[in-house]
């Protein structure tokens, strides 16, 4: 299953050559993160280019969520830099932490969105309000434009008839698709997913993965933490295997999934064992 992707702005050169010329949207440099005495990320480097789809895999507790939370500034790194589009959002050196000035920060925060494992929709608002409120209130965009875009997004998510529904009236899969629409309505340049299907049944998982795939076809830049190995293999330009707070392997899906790394073997072995059990 080889996919022909041609992300970026009309690059026609070979993929590797294209990537180095493509704009880096996100650079995480030497990131360290501690919880108390427990250093959860050790010197992690990640670069995400425009149009790229990066999957992060690894066993439970390896630091995947922490990495995403540091990248999205939900957590503050204890060392290193987080840089978006060449502008430094946070720098942490020797215990001193510097954030970008307010204006820069606003610009930076505007350029990414996040989809959470448990959706985190606002339960007191209906689907349409969940999607439109932030574009209207935060981005102060035109009402008509925002509503038209929200309805178009809902149609793409297969939820055109649900705009008046409340989150409690939707299935988990529908909630997650609304959450994806809510994030997309802000027109982010880069979208983070933290195990978007882990809270879902297998059938519902499929419908959410389908939506993410359709975004991939539109060259949305995405960073996806997932336990869906087949999905990661199919969709990603690059896979990162994390182990005990470091990036153990990084490369194309083919490279990573066929790597001889014993920890990777063990990790994948457990998956195939689990898969066998499920069937």
């Amino acid at each position: 299953m080889t996919k022909e992707k041609n992300p970026g702005k009309g690059t026609t050169v070979g993929e590797n050559a294209g990537r180095s010329e493509r704009k880096a949207l996100l650079e995480i440099c030497h990131a360290r993160k501690c919880f108390g005495d427990n250093e959860v990320l050790h010197d992690v480097d990640v670069t995400v280019h425009e149009g790229e789809i990066v999957s992060i895999i690894g066993r439970s507790g390896s630091g995947k969520t922490t990495l995403l939370r540091c990248a999205t500034l939900l957590e503050t790194i204890d060392g290193g830099d987080i840089i978006y589009m060449g502008e430094t959002a946070v720098t942490a050196r020797f215990g001193a932490i510097h954030f970008a000035p307010k204006e820069t920060m606003r610009r930076i925060k505007d350029c990414y969105g996040m989809v959470f494992q448990n959706f985190n929709l606002f339960p007191h608002w209906n689907v349409l309000r969940n999607i439109t409120d932030a574009p209207l209130r935060v981005q102060k965009r035109e009402k008509e434009e925002v509503y038209a875009e929200a309805r178009e997004l809902l149609r793409k998510m297969g939820l055109a008839d649900k705009e008046k529904a409340y989150p409690c009236e939707l299935s988990g899969g529908q909630c997650q698709r609304v959450a994806i629409a809510r994030a997309l309505a802000m027109n982010p340049k880069i979208l983070f997913f933290d195990e978007p299907t882990s809270a879902l049944d297998p059938e519902l998982t499929a419908e959410v993965l389908k939506v993410i795939k359709s975004l991939a076809e539109e060259h949305m830049t995405m960073v996806i933490v997932t336990h869906e190995m087949q999905f990661a293999r199919d969709i990603s330009d690059r896979v990162i295997f994390m182990d005990q707070g470091v990036i153990a392997i990084e490369g194309s899906p083919e490279e990573v999934f066929s790597a001889g790394n014993p920890r990777m073997r063990e990790f994948l072995g457990r998956y195939s064992a689990e898969g066998a059990l499920q069937q």
Binding site: T72, L74, F122, D133, C168
Partner: protein, 216 residues
């Protein structure tokens, strides 16, 4: 004295009861939020002060607090207080007392909101105040409504405590009539007033709860 006369006399005092009830509610419900913010403040002296205030309000009888508010200024500072002060002291005393209870109820509601709501809001770029007033507070109000109803019903009954500073409202009138006419009928009528009032309060709050039940 006929039942009708007793009823009419108590009805004239019921206006005062209602006035105290609505004014205290009007002040204590928003004041409760202020108290909550003080308690949740990261400025330690303020949060400690508010915690002590809450524990005194909840740990001592409201009647005693009313006596303190009313007689305190005179005995402590020899202040001469005008006639209007009694009503002011009553509303003040009840409001700051109920605000303490409401603050604790709001706190329990706010603690019931998952952290993910704040994170989703932060990710969408809402400012802190926007997050609180548009996303958190509406959900908190729904969560705390049953507890607030309990307090409101207690407040209806607690208005009778103002007789301790000899303020004339329905309960004080009932006591006067009962003593003068040596009959317990006024108490029964007053009881009926409170009971019916609370039925209406419970019904009203039930309506609001129902209006908010469109989501879980």
């Amino acid at each position: 004295m006929s039942l009708t006369t007793i009823f009419m006399q108590l009805l004239s005092g019921f206006g005062q009861t209602c006035l105290i009830f609505f004014l205290v509610l009007l002040f204590s419900l928003p004041l409760g939020w202020l108290v909550y913010f003080g308690r949740a403040s990261r400025f330690k002296p303020l949060s400690i002060f508010v915690k002590v205030y809450i524990s005194i309000m909840r740990g001592t009888p409201l009647m005693l607090q009313l006596l303190m508010w009313y007689f305190g200024p005179f005995y402590l500072w020899k202040m001469n207080i005008g006639g209007g002060y009694k009503f002011f002291a009553i509303i003040l005393g009840c409001s700051v007392n109920y605000a303490a209870y409401f603050a604790e109820i709001y706190r329990s509601g706010i603690e019931a909101i998952p952290k993910g709501q704040y994170e989703a809001a932060q990710m969408l770029g809402y400012r802190k105040a926007e997050t609180f007033f548009h996303i958190i507070m509406p959900q908190v109000i729904k969560i705390v409504l049953p507890s607030v109803t309990n307090e409101v019903i207690t407040l209806v009954k607690d208005t009778s405590l103002v007789y301790s500073v000899s303020y004339i409202e329905m309960f004080a009138l009932a006591k006067q009539i009962a003593a003068a006419q040596t009959t317990i009928v006024p108490f029964l009528v007053a009881g009926a007033f409170y009971y019916v009032f609370n039925l209406l309060v419970a019904h009203g709050m039930g309506r609001i709860e129902k209006a908010l039940s469109y989501y879980r």
